[in-house]
Symmetry: C2
Subunit: 362 residues, 2 copies
Amino acid sequence: MFSNKYVREMKPYPLTSHRAWEREGEEDVLKLDWNEATIAPSPTVISSIVDFLSSGRLNWYPDVNNAELLKELSYYCSIPEKYIQYFASSDSLHEYLAKCFIEVGDRVSIISPTYDNFRATVESCGAIVNYYYLDKSFNFCFENLRDYLNHENPKIVYICNPNNPTGTIYSPEDLEALAKEFINILFIVDEAYFEFAKVTCKDLVLSCGNLVICRTFSKAFALASFRVGYAIASTDIIETITKIRNPKNISTLSQIAAISALQDSAYMEEYVKQVLTAKKYFDQELSGLGLECFGNGGNFTLVKVQQELKKKLIDYLQSKNIFVRDYGHVNGMENYLRITIGTLDQMKPVLTCIAKFIKENE
Amino acid sequence: MFSNKYVREMKPYPLTSHRAWEREGEEDVLKLDWNEATIAPSPTVISSIVDFLSSGRLNWYPDVNNAELLKELSYYCSIPEKYIQYFASSDSLHEYLAKCFIEVGDRVSIISPTYDNFRATVESCGAIVNYYYLDKSFNFCFENLRDYLNHENPKIVYICNPNNPTGTIYSPEDLEALAKEFINILFIVDEAYFEFAKVTCKDLVLSCGNLVICRTFSKAFALASFRVGYAIASTDIIETITKIRNPKNISTLSQIAAISALQDSAYMEEYVKQVLTAKKYFDQELSGLGLECFGNGGNFTLVKVQQELKKKLIDYLQSKNIFVRDYGHVNGMENYLRITIGTLDQMKPVLTCIAKFIKENE
């Protein structure tokens, strides 16, 4: 009875099953449903935590202004510290952005299909959401988007680059042109998969005050369990979100994990290389099986499979301890599933299973 | 330029210095400024984490519905699971409560002086804050508060029980009478220090739909670095906050730490016993030195010291690696400081320092 109308009316972000977690103890589980890394984080992450457990102060609140983490982020991003702030996950950053910039009734555009949590986050703040849809091959037409923005005139646009789950890549030049033409629109660009696509528009924040880049340690850095993300934006925006962010809320062990991961970025780069090799092979083989694959941007592949067959395939893979993501919860995506890409050794058995399934269901 | 008016105008929650963190490596630092536990958490917390580091999946997102944690919380609180939800800190719970229940322009009352983060949280959602002040001895008059609520008619009231920093305790009977008389007001009762005062109104949630209890693992359980808190409330309220809460945001190691701490609650109870013994002794000795102390509710003592002398005392204690909390940032509290209470062995040297300082400054 006390809650806001828009909280009552919003549809929560749908979570997939927990069956992978229930099988966590089993060695051969392949969790390919949330685009997490498929390998453990750098050994330096684990040794730094073990060190802290033996001598650190677990009973103290976390450092509220971790200068070392900011310094490492600045070095990794090649951008001065004043353009960066870290958060307890990129989801948490998105929540603070919405709290800062959205007033009830504000118009927000989301380039779709994409990560559905953008919608849930802004709806829970009372925004009115409108969608700009990529074309049938999930491509993006610059002129078309310009026309849309001119017509729709939203306060905020969400762009995921590379886009999840379609792998669509937006060039920095296109994003620069948009940000500089539409100076009254705030562009929130989620670069969760930046390490895989190696495309970024982060340097734009030096000259554009209407752009926020959101990044995470949950993908290439293999730190999803720790919840750390960061923003790159103009000093004005960084100061505003810093004002309302709760600086106590990034747990000490997560801060340590992020610093260690950044200090061993070579480990992450080697993993990314392996994933890109595996993805190329995986997509080729799937095509060979007659399946249509989309996207080159991230550690995932979007696969088109007719709805009924898709359900059977997902169940079949689960019976083999392989978990993939059904995209049926998103409008127009009823015939798609998304498979996270791991290393070649991990993806070969997945291909074998899919090939067997296809043969049996021809 | 894009941010909400109320975000632009709000005053952030002021954080104390980081000097204690800078001296983290030093054995003899006594951090008595944030009411954290002064000892490490239960050894089972550390061993569970070490176990997970060797065999768990740090690269996976955290469990989004930790049945074991809910079960342990339910057992610890003696209340069915459906009345409980856990969050990435009690501060995070407060942020979700504000997001759920506050619309721009809503009137919110805070019983003061208290934890200033309540104000920062609701102001950042556009609430108009009004204060009900405890009397000069920080006592609370039931009839007086009733009159205030009848006159002010807020949508939400924040009560910290026992109150930080005054130690004021509200009886469950008084809170029940208020909740049942003012059925259109939502009472948010923060029980961060419940383990020390052993006073709770949690059973009220079975019959009252206008009450939320907020608790934390950061005080008696010694898990401040991990950020875990939980709500106890009617099923209606639990369902609403569950809908907008991000269930991925409680880090895996924090979930493990909370479960282990609950499974060894005897460790926490022994620490609480030590703190209560130390507090009795500490307050008596301070009174013997001519200092006025307030509050019996938590692991802290509020001490009255004239403003100029207070600054000198805080600096003197810092020079001895003892950190206490200046309350000068809160209106009307210019002559107060708050000292967290640890064990008797930890508090005796603090008394020695204060006695020496008082003698030298007579």
